[in-house]
């Protein structure tokens, strides 16, 4: 029982970690509170569904189209809602509200087209792995392997290539990078593309397992934010750690209490961290007040 819960938690945590990393890519570097991430997250499952079920394209092509369009949505948000405001030096709260507005628009456009009810992408639970009483369903092992693969890819990207150095430079000193000009902007677009890609994959992975409705993006966003905070802002390993902690904690909550108390546990953890260790587990000590 406990082992099964821990395994479930670890798998859920891997998706959370990936999502948190996607949020941190934006938050650590641009300090934009990217609420519209919740909107980007639900775009890909719906597009995938639309392509497969309505247009009748083959799944692989649909998958590519869904990912591509999610990236485009993410870039459009940057282009329409963030960049013009940053250019006029709007305060961060204004950008945050703008992001909130984007999220509202995306969610409701999707709800208007596809309806409010939950849609199931895959109803087959066949093909589970059974190892010593532990059951890992097919969606689960796909979730785990894809998430870990993408996390590893992003981390490699951050550490090995010039992107990583620039990312860290950007998160350390935004002003310096602004002076550097156009290149920084391209780099910013790349970050939004990456985060859009991650959100799209995350959306598909979760939808493949439990289906999708237009409002699930919000809870995934909240989990990502909490994971980033408890892991540590300004750092890219923190969100990964935070994601796994949350995944395992939520699985245990579901196992021992009820899924209804998931949110309470998540946010109780957030508030504890905000009070006792606002810099997060791996964050540098800095003044939060």
């Amino acid at each position: 029982m406990l082992q099964q819960l821990l395994v479930n938690g670890f798998i859920l945590g891997s998706v959370y970690s990936m999502m948190a990393l996607g949020f941190a890519l934006i938050y650590n570097t641009t300090h934009i509170f990217h609420i519209a991430y919740a909107g980007v997250y639900i775009v890909s499952p719906y597009l995938f569904m639309a392509c497969v079920a309505m247009v009748g394209l083959n799944p692989v092509l649909s998958f590519v189209i869904a990912l591509l369009l999610s990236v485009i949505v993410s870039l459009s948000i940057e282009r329409i809602a963030y960049y013009p405001l940053e250019k006029r030096r709007s305060p961060s709260t204004v950008i945050m509200i703008s992001s909130l507005a984007c999220m509202t628009i995306i969610i409701n456009v999707i709800a208007m087209i596809f309806g409010n009810e939950t849609k199931i992408i895959n109803s087959s639970i066949s093909g589970s792995l059974v190892i010593n009483d532990l059951i890992i369903t097919r969606p689960q092992y796909i979730q785990l392997s894809v998430s870990l693969f993408i996390i590893a890819g992003i981390i490699a990207l951050i550490n090995r290539t010039g992107i990583g150095i620039a990312t860290r430079a950007l998160s350390n000193n935004k002003l310096l990078c602004q002076v550097m000009g156009l290149k920084v902007y391209r780099f910013r677009l790349l970050l939004f593309a990456l985060s859009g890609f991650i959100a799209a994959v995350g959306g598909l992975l979760i939808a493949y397992d439990v289906g999708i409705d237009p409002y699930v993006g919000m809870s995934m966003l909240l989990v990502s934010i909490v994971a980033v905070i408890i892991g540590g802002v300004g750092n890219f390993y923190g969100p990964i750690l935070g994601g796994f902690i949350l995944g395992i904690l939520q699985a245990l909550t579901i196992g021992f209490f009820s899924s209804r108390w998931q949110n309470v546990v998540t946010f109780a953890l957030l508030i504890i961290f905000l009070l006792l260790r606002p810099q997060g587990l791996l964050g540098e000590k800095q003044r939060m007040a």
Partner: protein, 290 residues
């Protein structure tokens, strides 16, 4: 005519919500996503007073305001020092926890079944406020009182310090005013006055359940305030009128209910987006959030 009066009551409920939130958002730059939680708590405290304790109108309202202020203090004490984004997270956390508790602690709040049959308040113990006309008047009076109080507050020496805080905290500190204490006071006052909307809502609809007090409602209240504008008295009123009347306008288009609700949200979102670019202080506000 009934329809118009219903709208007036709803507008007044939102005027109280936005006007009280304006003190927090427009005067001290604290963006809260927990306003619906306090709105809901206020409504539940009113139920506690009217249904459980059988108190008359005024003591119920005062008790509810006091309890809500207490909860406000509870949240404000630890979180008020947090920087911008982090304060928003803390209020967001509070919102979700409050909702989950209201929804799931069935033995205390009746959870999703809600509380039906909330009695109409009796003024001075005799005059029962029940009909739509009386409600319209009661809500107008309460909304007017709230606006009056906040008007006075903003123009008082207290309001002057708040104006200082929203512009330059460091300067206010160096002039010897305890900025943190002011922020806590503002937060608690806001919570106390939001209770009035909870009171109006609970006794007007005579039924409450947690789904009226979700995070979406918090976002909605905040949008109403930001669309109307922050920092003065006009803004919140304009915002409240706007968000209550817009759905009615859309209703005339004759769209199916499901689509109309989504379209409404899209229009709010679009308004916010455009406003943040062209007029971040809102339609009628005079001060933009920082």
């Amino acid at each position: 005519m009934n329809y118009v009066m219903h709208l007036v009551v709803m507008i007044n409920i939102y005027i109280v919500l936005t006007t009280s939130s304006n003190l927090l958002v427009g005067m001290t730059n604290l963006l809260s996503l927990g306003q619906a939680a306090f709105y809901g708590l206020g409504a539940y405290f009113v139920v506690l007073g009217l249904v459980v304790l059988h108190l008359p109108f005024l003591p119920t309202l005062l008790l509810a305001m006091l309890l809500n202020a207490g909860f406000g203090l509870l949240l404000a004490l630890p979180s008020i020092r947090l920087k911008g984004d982090y304060f928003v997270f803390a209020t967001l956390g509070f919102q979700l926890i409050t909702y989950t508790i209201l929804y799931n602690w069935v033995s205390l709040t009746r959870g999703p079944y809600g509380v039906p049959g909330i009695p109409a308040p009796k003024l001075l113990g005799v005059l029962e406020i029940s009909g739509l006309v009386q409600y319209c008047i009661l809500s107008l009076v309460l909304a007017f009182l709230v606006i009056l109080v906040f008007n006075r507050l903003i123009k008082s020496p207290f309001g002057r310090v708040l104006k200082g805080i929203r512009e330059d905290e460091l300067s206010v500190l160096s002039l010897g005013r305890n900025v943190t204490m002011y922020k806590i006071e503002v937060f608690v006052i806001t919570c106390a006055f939001i209770t009035i909307s909870g009171f109006l809502y609970a006794t007007y609809v005579t039924y409450i359940d947690p789904t009226s007090f979700t995070l979406d409602e918090s976002i909605f209240i905040l949008s109403a305030l930001l669309i109307g504008g922050t920092g003065n008295l006009k803004g919140p009123i304009v915002g409240a009128v706007f968000v209550v009347l817009l759905p009615e306008v859309i209703r005339f288009l004759g769209l199916p209910e499901g689509i109309a609700a989504n379209l409404r949200q899209i229009i709010y979102g679009f308004f916010l987006l455009v406003l943040m670019y062209f007029r971040p202080q809102g339609i009628a506000g005079n001060y933009q959030v920082k």
